[in-house]
Amino acid sequence: MLMLSILTLAAVLIPIGNIVVPESSGFHVSTYTMTLLGKYLCYALLAVAVDLVWGYLGILSLGHGAFFALGGYSMGMYLMRQIGDRGVYGHPLLPDFMVFLNWEKLPWFWHGFDSFWFAMLMVVLVPGLLALIFGWFAFRSRVTGVYLSIMTQAMTYALLLAFFRNEMGFGGNNGLTDFKDILGFPLQADTTRVGLFIASAVALGFGYLSCLYITRSRLGRLCRAIRDQEDRTRFIGYRVENAKLWIFTFSAMLAGIAGALYVPQVGIINPGEFAPLVSIEIIIWVAVGGRATLYGAVAGALMVNYSKSFLTAAMPDAWLFALGALFVLVTLLLPRGVVGLFTRKQ
């Protein structure tokens, strides 16, 4: 509840600090800071999604970045279609990169993305469907542990390679960018940024609450039981593969929503988001914050990303070393993460 109060407070105060408080005041929040925080909120939602499958269900997914990126691409496609004829080449229908590649028609999978609601549906459906198909095969054949982790890693890497190709029709290695506006509001305007920030906070709140509901239900207790003693749950009559499949799919959908809110705030989505390293970083956020607590995942995502923003500006070369050291230290010294310092052992 503390977590939600802070979030609500942030969702109210930060936009006020940006719009109402004059720039001369010390309490003014710059648009840059607010957008940065909005980005962190998207990361936090992604971390919550990973915590649900890793912390509670024991599935170490090293491919959640893929679901995040797919949600991001769905949003990116909508934003591209919004550009209309204002692109560099001024084509009324085709995004710039397609004109550049001498394409004559819009590929079939780009149709429908001019509608906001269709795109929002795809934001959850595409990652959800991928998770459903992947999970259906993986969990039914009882792949667990490190093998499953490697498969998730391979999945995101395969997508990385595919999205790098121009023929895929997603802008190749440049990805999708040059966005102009969302729902008719210019993306560069402060008020739009405020809207996106609030949307991110609401999405995080929604994701957090729904995960909280799941983890506190009997299904949540079942998840932890599966994590600790998978065979036992099977012999008392639970379909372990179904539980895993639905939780994994739900988590992928949350990751997709996070990606969709991330893209308009950073202004670009490219195949780099599919890189295995990105997915591993998410695991580090959760591990640093504290597994199986949800609020720990949020705290971890915020802390690590804040240090990242700070360190990559102050000492660009040191960041990766710091990240590695952080992971090693947390694993060795704080197996229950930073929040484990403040909660008594059960």
Binding site: L219, Q229, I236, G237
Partner: protein, 273 residues
């Protein structure tokens, strides 16, 4: 054309959509478990070799045998973990165990306790029993269901049966080895099984704990059929009506403890060693 017609009928669902509900357990012949001609081999080694075993309804049966006699493999077959190469396994008159997987078999009424006590250590005792409770175990139902008072009473009752009523709030991980064994038996009871398979319930127990376990298992027989696999001869003597000796994957002898102990072949392979 008639095929198409029948496919379009609205008064019935397609076969593949119809839920695959196993028939109710039929115990009219008084037998709860039939294993006939079961053979399993792992990499050429015959773990189970033409095994025939029949368990009566309400019986308490002990299965003994040296290491590698196939006791645990037999349990794996009954609970759907391992598929035999040949043979048949029937639960009652009408439930074919070889066509079902673990959750279906559990649902049909066979509960299993593992050799090593397996309980959910980061859950409280109450939560352990709640998870094991018989009921609709589909995901959506599990997400939305809450304990109602009848179920709480049942949990309390089982906690009393296994003698852990006072520790109901504690985490299962904090229990002693013997208490974990009891909790696991309690979890079986929550499933409302007709047949309990209990693998080495007395392993690592003190004598007092063993006596209580023997009492517990004897009290369960009658309402349930209980199959106990055990190494400890004293323990077996204290509970068994009928004993089956397994050796190299098949039944070597069957009878009361005295009969079995005086059987020459049994003495040779097992008791006399």
């Amino acid at each position: 054309m008639s095929k198409l017609h029948s496919a379009l009928r609205r008064d019935q669902v397609f076969d593949f959509l119809a839920p695959d509900i196993p028939p109710d357990l039929d115990l009219t012949r008084g037998m709860i478990l039939y294993l006939e001609g079961i053979t399993v081999s792992f990499d050429g080694f015959k773990a189970i070799d033409d095994l025939n075993l029949y368990i009566e309804n309400g019986e308490l049966r002990c299965i003994i045998g040296p290491n590698g006699a196939g006791k645990t493999t037999m349990m794996d077959i009954i609970t759907g973990k391992t598929r035999p190469d040949s043979g048949s396994a029937w639960f009652g008159q009408n439930i074919n165990l070889l066509k079902m997987d673990e959750p279906e078999i559990a649902e049909a009424g066979i509960g299993r306790k593992f050799q090593k006590p397996t309980v959910f250590e980061s859950h409280s005792l109450t939560e352990n029993l709640e998870l094991a409770m018989a009921g609709d175990k589909r995901i959506w139902k599990v997400l939305t269901s809450e304990l109602h008072s009848e179920q709480q009473d049942r949990i309390h009752e089982v906690l009393k049966i296994i003698g852990l009523a006072e520790q109901y709030k504690e985490f299962a991980g904090s229990l002693s080895h013997g208490q974990k064994q009891w909790l696991e038996i309690g979890m079986l009871l929550m499933q409302n099984p007709k047949l309990l398979l209990v693998d080495e319930p007395a392993a690592g127990m003190t004598h007092q704990e063993m006596d209580r376990t023997a009492e517990l298992l004897t009290s369960l027989a009658g309402d349930h059929s209980v199959v106990v696999v055990e190494h400890d001869m004293d323990f077996v003597r204290s509970i068994a009506g009928k004993v089956t000796v397994l050796h190299q994957g098949s039944v070597l002898a069957e009878g009361t403890m005295d009969e079995v102990q005086n059987d020459k072949r049994v003495i040779e392979v097992y008791l006399g060693e």
